[in-house]
Subunit: 322 residues, 2 copies
């Protein structure tokens, strides 16, 4: 998951007081931050060090990442004049550092590199709320009260997401992940009407390669069937629902990524082992399972637990720990 190295002392040392978005603009630093976890343990894939706000900062929006809070936009986008502050993303001129970092990494790495983007809805939610929110009530209010503006916003963001992902694909990433992290706050009807068309357009816009695309949302079990139909070769699932139930719902024709609760790694090794073995046993050795955490690594996670976990998964499966 993103910011994968923040539990490492060498990560904190290298980042120092540099803002995340500023770190993302330095390809040599992105290279190093992406490689750090792999120097500690034999992971089967690397995740590009980045942030979902990168393409929005790249088109000139004054977003920032506040420590302990998350992405913030002081003057949120809630009307037509807000929309006018957005413009298409031209990765070559707006964020050449992204392609550059991917190219450096692909040269260096012996394992696949996974790129990613926030999905249109999740990006829109930060722009509308102005910051993280548990209920996304302003996002929904705009969606219901001004559906035309909401849909134009998601349309513009869809184009940005496609451009951002295509730049990573052209530079050589081996898989991409679309994070629709907060879409689980919607009910099925609203997902179908307001999100599905845009997410489907993103997956269409990056089709035509044989690079797999992973689709992920937190607490979105009630939407899995719709999200699957919107697109994605693989699904990331969080820890709430047992992996076998989740896979049965999504369908065994898709790959699945998950789903150890990252908080388990804060407990004793015996708990980590028991819960990891449970995930593996529910996957049942079926092809298409990628062992992963249900969400990002938490900052206080002991490195030894991650290292032992990678070894455990390798010993049990002969591969596939990302």
């Amino acid at each position: 998951m993103r910011q994968a190295g923040r539990y490492l002392p060498e990560y904190r040392e290298l980042r120092g007081s540099t803002g995340i978005l500023e770190s993302c603009r330095r390809p040599e630093q992105v290279l190093e931050l992406t490689l750090q976890p792999l120097r500690r343990m034999p992971l089967d894939a690397a995740i590009l060090f980045s942030d979902i706000m990168v393409p929005l900062a790249a088109i000139g929006l004054p977003v920032r990442i506040e420590a302990g809070r998350g992405p913030v936009l002081d003057d949120p986008i809630r009307d037509a004049s807000g929309l006018a502050r957005l413009r298409p993303l031209d990765p070559d001129t707006d964020e050449p550092h992204v392609s550059e970092a991917v190219r450096l990494l692909v040269k260096e790495l012996e394992v696949p590199l996974i790129g990613f983007s926030g999905a249109p809805f999740t990006l829109a939610s930060y722009l509308i709320e102005g910051g993280p929110s548990r209920t996304l009530s302003r996002t929904k209010a705009l969606m219901y009260a001004e559906p035309a503006i909401f849909e134009r916003l998601l349309g513009i963001l869809s184009d940005i997401v496609v451009a951002h992902l295509r730049a990573q694909l052209d530079a050589g990433v081996h898989a991409v992940q679309l994070f629709d992290s907060w879409v689980g706050v919607l009910d099925r009807d609203d997902y179908r009407r307001f999100v599905f068309p845009h997410t489907a357009r993103v997956f269409e816009g990056i089709s035509g390669t044989d690079v797999p695309a992973i689709h992920f949302g937190v607490g979105s079990g009630h939407l899995w069937e719709l999200m699957r139909d919107a697109g994605g070769d693989a699904f990331g699932v969080d820890h709430g629902v047992p992996l076998d139930d989740a896979w049965a719902t999504i369908g065994h024709d898709r790959a699945i990524q998950g789903n150890l609760d990252p908080a388990v790694l804060l407990g004793p090794w015996e708990t980590v082992e028991r819960k990891a073995r449970d995930v593996l046993s529910r996957a049942g050795g079926r092809a298409g399972h990628v062992f992963n955490l249900g969400h990002g690594v938490l900052p206080d996670t002991p490195v030894e637990h991650l290292q032992r976990l990678v070894d455990l998964v390798h010993a049990e499966t002969g591969g596939a720990a990302s």
Copy 2:
């Protein structure tokens, strides 16, 4: 839901700069704050104005409610010495204002009064985290690393919850609701082991009356069958899953309360009406449905929408809007 009147100007005027916990200690103010929404619209029940932190403040814990954040405990409880800061609740001496407010209300009201309490797990999460948290990672870390301390904490809190609810029952409330708001972050195994026994003990501790008990958690669809078995005559469900699916999962032998998304009320009336009619149509006129929001009323909600919603539900059902 709690703090039900915060969308009303007369609520903000009466509360002024008084802290919520301080307001809860003034029975005359609790009376007025509980009655305010009923003066605006013909609701079928009243919810006691209170806060889930009331019984914890009553045993002397220095909890406070921070505006825009939630319950905060500066020195969180994470070990045996933390447990020593807790003691049993004696409602008669620790929080006589609770029973007093209930008695005043029961005399005044022409509709049933619903009392409530936080559930042991949700209360524990605030004490362990020291404040609101999206992941409850410290709560889980303690649960895994120090299960004996965690279980003693939940045991102590269960006794406090039973005493707090019994005081409300003895003073005359007509229903009680147990808010296990954040339990949805747990998987089924952990719920079964760490939460089920304590929640079951709470429902046992308040049994022996014919007052119905409602059980509620946010985003807890994967736990509904277990939560149902832990106890409750009725289930509150949030908006993610359509009401008919939720009711089928929980079982038609229980009553169900829900499940309009409170954020819908921030949109235009046409959306409120369409979504409310959808909930009613999924309930299908079956006895045992209590129309309600899936979570608390949001502060910016237009009062007119709530009033029209109550009228709509009454017109369609002949009752049961709370």
